[in-house]
């Protein structure tokens, strides 16, 4: 559905003379309370929004802030847009547009999709500038009509497309550095023709440090003086990624549902899974994405 059909024109406030985040939230909620009869106290809404903001992640570098809250028994999805006359600086970011969202506590796909749509549209700088430069609510609504919101949340909405990759010819020293620099525990292996040929997890790297016979003994508590990473340290330049990489056993389709992704991640005890379309790697889903982008959004 069109993003515009989810936002009432009365809730689009342009050229607002507000100078703080609090004021922006205040005027937006005022608009809401003018229009709707709510059994919920305004103060409670503000406190819920503030609580969520304390967790962080509601202000985006693109200049968009999305103060939002999941309120018990809210029973609706309300979206208010507030565009200040001048940008308001929050955490060193010049916020040019506030989108205030309220919904009930139950996880709703639509709510998450709207959030995703706004973050996405703010990344398109040209579109975003045009949107906030609009003179009135009518024009903004018209522009928002160009954005379609998918009803179901899919892996594509959660995955990250900006991920590190490693070549099969890299040695373990380079691999260790890459894990360290990218602060990840998963790297897809991409060959020179840009094909996704395998994956390495940090477990694969670290287990090189434990000899096979030690793995077979199972319980190594009796060893006091054993130096586990001897082999890894000595041979990190001789062992190649292609020696330790594994063929990807489980991958996700971009259009796979969140529940499918959650099932694969938890059943296989994975922290990351590749997202593959037509044999090409298009993204990586981290189990943290489910926490950050579904459970605590």
């Amino acid at each position: 559905m069109k993003l515009s059909s989810l936002i009432e024109k009365d809730f689009i406030l342009v050229n607002q003379n507000v100078t703080t985040r609090e004021e922006a939230i205040e005027v937006s909620l005022n608009a809401l309370f003018d229009k709707k009869r709510l059994s919920i106290d305004k103060k409670r809404l503000i406190s819920e929004i503030n609580q969520r903001d304390e967790l962080g992640g509601t202000v985006f570098p693109t200049g968009l802030a999305i103060p939002h809250a999941r309120v018990k028994d809210y029973g609706d999805l309300s979206i208010m847009i507030c565009i200040p006359e001048k940008p308001i600086v929050i955490n060193d970011i010049e916020v040019r547009c506030f989108v205030i969202m309220l919904t009930s506590t139950a996880v709703s796909n639509l709510y998450l999709q709207v959030l995703a749509s706004f973050t996405k549209l703010s990344m398109d700088e040209e579109y975003f500038s045009r949107l906030i430069a609009a003179k009135n609510a009518e024009l903004i609504s018209k522009q928002l009509a160009e954005i379609y919101v998918k009803k179901d949340l899919t892996v594509e909405d959660l995955m990250s497309t900006d991920f590190g990759t490693v070549s099969p010819e890299s040695n373990l020293k380079e691999l260790t550095d890459l894990f360290y620099l990218k602060k990840t525990s998963y790297l897809p292996v991409i060959d020179s023709d840009n094909r996704f040929i395998g994956e390495v997890r940090i477990n694969d790297l670290i287990s090189i440090g434990i000899p096979n016979y030690a793995v077979m003994i199972g319980n190594l508590s009796f060893l006091n003086s054993f130096e586990p990473f001897e082999k890894l340290m000595l041979e990190e330049e001789n062992i190649l990624v292609s020696d330790i990489m594994k063929k990807s056993q489980v991958s996700l389709r971009p259009e796979a549902s969140v529940v499918e992704a959650a099932l694969e991640l938890t059943q296989g005890n994975y922290r990351h899974l590749p997202v593959v379309k037509d044999g090409n790697l298009v993204g990586i889903l981290n189990i943290m994405d489910i926490l950050v982008k579904v459970l605590r959004r």
Binding site: P211, N212, Y213, A214, M216, I217, N219, S221, F222, L223, N224, S225, F226
Partner: protein, 424 residues
């Protein structure tokens, strides 16, 4: 010979070759062959199922459960490390004592399990000593095949022979114990001569072994006590099973049930995961295949041929069986070999009297168990031991293993020949 007979022998020999080549899983081959026998009408289903020696099957299952629970307590690692420390990390003593441990454990556990438990610890100790683990791994595998010969439960061929011939646990100890002991002492001496020069280590290396704290390998002392009690009960049960009129399978199942009860029997499936179902069904398939050969009259034909060859002379037959079994077991899997030989010997017993053929049973056991040492592929314990070493970067080639083991096998078979000749 009719068409059915040719088809039956064809299927049987094909199965035998495929099992030996190990390209396809042997359990699948045995089951497929067995089912083909039934489909072709060589043996009907009721007869086929009646051919399965349930005493063997349940003895195996019972022991697998008991051993499976016990091995997780860390007691075997404890024993190995304790041993290495007891001789202050001196390599030649460790080498010999690890052979002793392998032989003793194999008398109670099956050989493959023994090797699977001990080889990783053996490699660890050798690596910490700065020595090549290869002599240790080879000695342990050979010793386990020898030790396993001493008891009814030590090696699958013995389980099958004991069940078919009605020989008890004590019979094996009385009749095979002495020869196994003699052979083992000889083997230890050979190992000593072969490897002693290769085993020189520094004091510092030996100190590393002394640093191990074997007590920490026991994860659950309470469970260990339960396991040891049940194991002791089971061994006592085996020792007296003839006197109290029980078969070994009953003793093993009793032990398994008791240990499952004691170690918290809620999740019974967990314990049954310890059973190697592949091996169990391999036996089931083999029993049916061999049953089919009996139905076809092939076994009868072979046994009559053998009797004609030896003119019914027990001593001569025994010698023939020792060497035939020794050579066959070195080349093919000794389990299907023994499964095939059993009805043959049974048939000979019908002619010569079941008491009279006892030496032949012992010869079959000695030949097939010791023969396993003939080559790297002669016994599963060898394959598993070399496999674990290979995975750790210490490749043991067929020739490397065989050059030591074949020599040892010939010696042990000669000594067994002499023993059987004078004893019976």
């Amino acid at each position: 010979m009719n068409v059915l007979m040719i088809a039956g022998i064809g299927i049987f020999i094909t199965c035998f070759i495929l099992i030996t080549l190990e390209k396809i899983n042997k359990t699948i081959i045995a089951l497929l062959g067995a089912v083909l026998f039934i489909i072709l009408g060589i043996i009907d289903q009721d007869t086929a199922f009646a051919e399965i020696d349930w005493n063997v099957i349940f003895l195996l299952i019972g022991m697998m459960v008991i051993v499976g629970i016990t091995k997780n307590t860390g007691i075997f690692q404890y024993a190995a490390i304790k041993t290495a420390k007891a001789v202050k990390g001196e390599p030649i003593k460790i080498l010999l004592l690890f052979a002793v441990l392998s032989a003793v454990f194999s008398a109670i556990l099956d050989n493959v399990t023994t090797v699977m438990i001990l080889t990783p610890v053996i490699i660890l100790v050798a690596v910490e000593l700065g020595l090549s683990p290869i002599p240790f791994v080879i000695s342990s595998a050979i010793a386990s095949n020898i030790g396993g010969t001493a008891t009814l439960i030590g090696d699958p061929p013995n389980i099958m022979i004991g069940s078919a011939a009605g020989l008890g646990f004590m019979d094996f100890i009385i009749y095979l114990g002495p020869i196994v002991l003699i052979n083992f002492i000889i083997v230890c001496f050979i190992i000593y001569l072969l490897f002693r020069k290769k085993l020189k280590v520094s004091i510092e290396r030996r100190a590393r072994i002394m640093e191990f704290d074997e007590k920490l390998s026991i994860k659950d002392p309470a469970l260990l006590v339960k396991c040891l009690i049940v194991l002791a009960l089971v061994i006592i049960g085996f020792l007296i099973h003839d006197k109290i009129g029980l078969k070994p399978a009953t003793i093993a199942l009793f032990g398994a049930a008791l240990l499952m009860l004691l170690s918290g029997g809620e999740e019974v499936d967990k314990f049954f995961h310890e059973v190697e179902w592949g091996t169990i069904f391999f036996f089931i398939g083999l029993f049916i295949l061999v049953g089919g050969l009996v139905e076809l009259g092939v076994i009868e034909f072979l046994s009559i041929s053998l009797l004609n060859l030896t003119k019914g002379d027990i001593a001569l037959s025994s010698q023939l069986i020792i060497w035939l079994s020794g050579v066959m077991s070195a080349i093919v899997d000794n389990i299907p070999y023994v499964a095939t030989m059993i009805p043959m010997v049974e048939h000979m017993g019908e002619t010569l009297g079941s008491e009279a053929i006892q030496p032949i049973w012992w010869s079959l056991a000695l030949g097939s168990c010791f023969g396993g040492n003939g080559t790297l592929i002669g016994a599963s314990a060898n394959v598993v031991g070399a496999g674990i070493a290979g995975k750790n970067g210490y490749k043991i080639s067929f020739l490397e293993f065989t050059k030591y083991s074949a020599f040892i096998t010939v010696i042990t078979l000669i000594v067994s020949s002499i023993y059987v000749y004078f004893r019976f």
